[in-house]
C-alpha cells in the first residue's frame, strides 16, 4: 500500500511532493527527469501569453541560507509551453501543473484559456512573482480583492481544469487572500512564492549582485515563513494547500504537512539537496508514517493544529 498517495483536487498523486514552479520546469524532458526522481507531480515554469527573455544575469545567486533569484518570468510563451506539456503528458504518466501569469487581470484569464488547450491537470496562477515589480507593479497577491477577481476570471476560462492560486506572504493577511480565492472558486492554494524582494550587494564593486538588483528569497531562510503561511491558510480555507517554500530537507516537508499542506512543493531544495531530495523525502515520510502507525498522510495533515 502506498501510504504517500495523495488526492489533490481529484488528481491522484503517488507522492505529495510537487516540483515547484520555476525550477527545471522548462521542458518535457527536464520535467520527466524530476518525475523519475520521485516527484508526484511537476509544475512548469510560469508562462505567459508572449515570449519573455526575463532579466539579465546574474539572476540566481546562492547565499549562506538560501537563494536570491530574479529570473524575471523568462518563458517561451504559452504556445511553446503547450508543446512541452503535451509531450510530457504523452511520455510521462504523472500529473502536471501548468503555472501561468498575466500582466493584467484579463491577461490571467486569457493565459488560462490558452494553457487549457494542452490539458494540464491543474492550473497554478502565479499572482505573486516578487521580482517583476518594476514592470508589473505590486503583485496582485497583496490584494485580496484582486486575487478574488483573478480567481473568478481564470475559473471561467480554464475549461474545467482545477485552479490553484499561488500566493505571497507579503500581504496584510494571507488567510484573507486565501479566503477570497476560495470564495471565487479556487480549487487549491499554493503558498508561498519566494519572499521579498531581497538584495545582496558585492563589497568590492559596491553594486547589487543581481542584474535586476532585487529578487525573491527562497531556500532554507524562508522555511519557517512557509510553515506559518500554511498554518494560517489551513485555518482559513477548506480547499487543499500546496505548501511550498524552503523545503531543503525531508523533515521540512513533514512540517508543512503537519501545518496543513496536502502537497508539498520543492524548488530550492533541488539545489540544496540535489535531485535526490524527492526520493529521500518520500522515504522519510513513508518511514515516519510507519513508525507512527499512520495509514496515510491524511491522518496527519494539519495535525499540528490539534
Amino acid at each position: 500500500m502506498n501510504r504517500l498517495a495523495t488526492d489533490l483536487c481529484g488528481i491522484r498523486l503517488e507522492s505529495p511532493l510537487v516540483l515547484a514552479s520555476g525550477i527545471m520546469g522548462m521542458s518535457a524532458s527536464s520535467m520527466k527527469r524530476i518525475s523519475e526522481a520521485g516527484a508526484g507531480a511537476v509544475t512548469t515554469k510560469s508562462c505567459g501569453i508572449g515570449e519573455r527573455k526575463g532579466h539579465p544575469c546574474p539572476c540566481v545567486i546562492p547565499f549562506e541560507h538560501g537563494l536570491l533569484n530574479a529570473v524575471g518570468l523568462a518563458n517561451p510563451g504559452i504556445e511553446e509551453m503547450n508543446r512541452e506539456i503535451s509531450e510530457f503528458k504523452i511520455r510521462v504518466g504523472k500529473p502536471l501543473i501548468a503555472s501561468i501569469f498575466g500582466k493584467t487581470e484579463d491577461g490571467f484569464g486569457e493565459a488560462a484559456a490558452r494553457i487549457s488547450l494542452s490539458k494540464p491537470d491543474l492550473i497554478e496562477v502565479n499572482v505573486s512573482c516578487p521580482n517583476v515589480a518594476s514592470e508589473f507593479g505590486l503583485p496582485f497577491a497583496a490584494d485580496a480583492d484582486a486575487c478574488g477577481r483573478i480567481t473568478h476570471m481564470v475559473k471561467e476560462r480554464a475549461n474545467g481544469i482545477p485552479v490553484s492560486m499561488k500566493l505571497s506572504l507579503q500581504c496584510p493577511s494571507i488567510a484573507a487572500v486565501g479566503r477570497a480565492c476560495q470564495e471565487n472558486g479556487a480549487d487549491a492554494i499554493t503558498a508561498i512564492n519566494s519572499v521579498g524582494p531581497g538584495m545582496l550587494i558585492d563589497l568590492n564593486v559596491r553594486k547589487p549582485i543581481l542584474a535586476n538588483q532585487v529578487g525573491g528569497v527562497s531556500g532554507a531562510a524562508i522555511m519557517p515563513l512557509a510553515v506559518r503561511a500554511v498554518w494560517d491558510l489551513f485555518r482559513a480555507v477548506t480547499i487543499p494547500i500546496i505548501g511550498t517554500g524552503g523545503v531543503t530537507r525531508p523533515e521540512d516537508a513533514l512540517q508543512l504537512i503537519l501545518a496543513g499542506a496536502t502537497a508539498v512543493g520543492i524548488g530550492s531544495g533541488v539545489y540544496a539537496y540535489g535531485l535526490d531530495i524527492f526520493s529521500a523525502t518520500n522515504a522519510f515520510l513513508a518511514q515516519w508514517l510507519e513508525r507512527d502507525e499512520c495509514s496515510s498522510l491524511a491522518d496527519i495533515r494539519g495535525s499540528a493544529h490539534g
Partner: protein, 400 residues
C-alpha cells in the same frame, strides 16, 4: 535520516556565491581575442566552467583555458555584448566569478584532443593537466584561420618569458599581434626571476622580449593551488609536441578540417608523443580506464570541444570505431547550478551546467536536440527544425 546542511554553509570557498576578484593580467592575442588571468579562488578541472560577471553588463559562462600557481586563465573571443564589453576591461578591474560548475574531462592516458576555434580553450587547460600528469596525448586544434587559434601560442605567459621553448614548429611567431597589457600600479618583473626550466632549453629562446615583458604579477592569496608542477616549463613543451594545427584557409598548420586529422591519429599518422620521462602520473593520478599499461603512443580516447557540427562529426567517428569519447557542449545558461532548466537537453533532461558540459557517449545517447537550434534566453528554440524534431504524435512509438 541524515541531516543535510545548506550546501554552501560548509567549507569555503562558497563557490556558487558571487565573489569578485581583480583581473591580474590580460594577454591580447589579436583583435577581439584575449586571455584574462584571475586569482584561482577555487580548484577547477579542465572542462568544468566558471561564470564571469561584469556589473551592469551580464554574467556569462566561460571555460578555463589554463592555470598557473594560484591563477586561472580565461580566454575569451568577442562575439556578443558581454564578450565585447570584457575586451575593454583593464588589469586591476573587478570581475565577479562563480564556479567551478559542471563535470569536466577525464584525465586519461592516450587522449586525443579535438578542438575548434575558441573551443580549444578548455583543451589547452586539459593539455596542461595531462602534461603535468605525465600522460601522452595528441591535440588536433582547428580554426577558421591563423587568427582564430592565435591564443594557443601562449601556454603560460607568466612562465615563458625567461624560458626557452622552441615553438617555431607549430607556432611561427608573429611580431606584433600579441602583446601583454601591463597591469597598472605594478612594477615590472625583473629578468632575474623565473629561472625555472631555463637551463635545459637555453639557447632555444626565441620569444620576443618586448612582446612578453610581464609585470610583476604576484598571485593574490592562492589557497587552492593543488597543481604546483603546472609552473614547470617542461610541461608546456610536451603540449607543443602534441599539438597539430588545422585551419580552414591553410594560414597555419594544415589546411583542412580538424576531424580529418582524427582518422590519421588513430591510424598512426600522427603518433602520440611519449609521456614525459619522470612524470609523476602514477603518484598523482588514479589513472583512467584506458590508462597506464598501454604503450603511451596508442590513442584510446577522444576529448572534443568546439562548434556542435564538429562535435557531432567527432562523435560519429568515435561511434564508428568504438572509441570512448567525451565532448563539451554549449547551451544558453543562466543559473549555473541546475535550477533554471535553461540548459536541460531534450530527450534526457540532462542539465548541461551540472551533469555536463562535458558529456560521455552514454549521456549523449538519449539526447534528441543535437541538430536543433538552441534555446534562447526565453527557453524558446529559435527555429523548430520540423524534419528533425520529434513530433508529439511520434513520441508514443519511440522508446523513451
Amino acid at each position: 535520516m541524515n541531516v543535510l546542511l545548506w550546501p554552501i554553509s560548509g567549507d569555503p570557498p562558497m563557490a556558487d556565491t558571487m565573489q569578485t576578484v581583480r583581473i591580474l593580467r590580460i594577454v591580447e592575442h589579436g583583435e577581439g581575442l584575449k586571455s584574462f588571468w584571475v586569482p584561482a579562488i577555487f580548484n577547477i578541472e579542465p572542462g568544468q566552467f566558471i561564470t564571469l560577471w561584469l556589473p551592469k553588463v551580464d554574467e556569462k559562462p566561460f571555460a578555463v583555458s589554463g592555470s598557473a600557481e594560484g591563477e586561472l586563465e580565461i580566454t575569451i573571443k568577442a562575439v556578443g555584448p558581454f564578450t565585447r564589453s570584457i575586451m575593454n576591461c583593464r588589469p586591476g578591474d573587478w570581475v565577479g566569478i562563480r564556479g567551478p560548475f559542471g563535470k569536466g574531462f577525464s584525465l586519461k592516458n592516450g587522449a586525443v584532443l579535438v578542438g575548434g576555434g575558441i573551443g580549444n580553450a578548455p583543451l589547452k587547460f586539459l593539455a596542461q593537466r595531462l602534461s603535468v600528469a605525465g600522460m601522452s596525448y595528441s591535440w588536433l586544434a582547428g580554426g577558421r584561420s591563423k587568427a582564430d587559434i592565435r591564443f594557443l601560442r601562449y601556454i603560460n605567459p607568466a612562465e615563458t618569458q625567461n624560458c626557452s621553448i622552441s615553438t617555431e614548429e607549430f607556432f611561427p611567431r608573429s611580431s606584433n599581434n600579441s602583446k601583454i597589457l601591463p597591469r597598472s600600479g605594478r612594477s615590472r618583473r625583473s629578468q632575474e626571476s623565473g629561472e625555472r626550466g631555463k637551463s635545459e632549453n637555453s639557447g632555444k629562446l626565441n620569444l620576443d622580449e618586448s612582446k612578453l615583458s610581464l609585470d610583476e604579477l604576484k598571485p593574490l592569496d592562492s589557497p587552492c593551488s593543488s597543481h604546483p608542477r603546472e609552473n614547470v616549463i617542461g610541461d608546456f613543451i610536451s603540449i607543443f609536441e602534441s599539438l597539430h594545427i588545422f585551419t580552414d584557409d591553410g594560414s597555419e598548420g594544415r589546411k583542412g578540417l580538424v576531424t580529418d586529422g582524427l582518422a590519421e591519429v588513430f591510424s598512426g599518422v600522427f603518433p602520440l608523443p611519449e609521456a614525459s620521462p619522470g612524470a609523476d602520473a602514477g603518484k598523482r593520478m588514479d589513472g583512467g580506464a584506458g590508462g597506464r599499461g598501454l604503450p603511451s603512443s596508442v590513442p584510446t580516447f577522444i576529448c572534443g570541444s568546439g562548434p556542435e557540427p564538429m562535435l557531432l562529426a567527432t562523435r560519429q567517428f568515435a561511434l564508428s570505431r568504438g572509441i570512448p569519447v567525451e565532448l563539451s557542449f554549449e547551451r544558453y545558461m543562466k543559473c549555473g547550478i541546475g535550477l533554471c532548466g535553461q540548459c536541460c537537453l531534450d530527450g534526457t533532461g540532462i542539465r548541461l551546467c551540472v551533469e555536463g558540459p562535458v558529456l560521455t557517449e552514454k549521456q549523449m545517447a538519449g539526447v534528441t536536440e543535437f541538430r536543433l537550434s538552441h534555446r534562447s534566453s526565453s527557453g524558446r528554440r529559435a527555429i523548430r527544425n520540423t524534419t528533425e524534431a520529434p513530433k508529439v504524435t511520434e513520441l508514443t512509438e519511440r522508446k523513451i
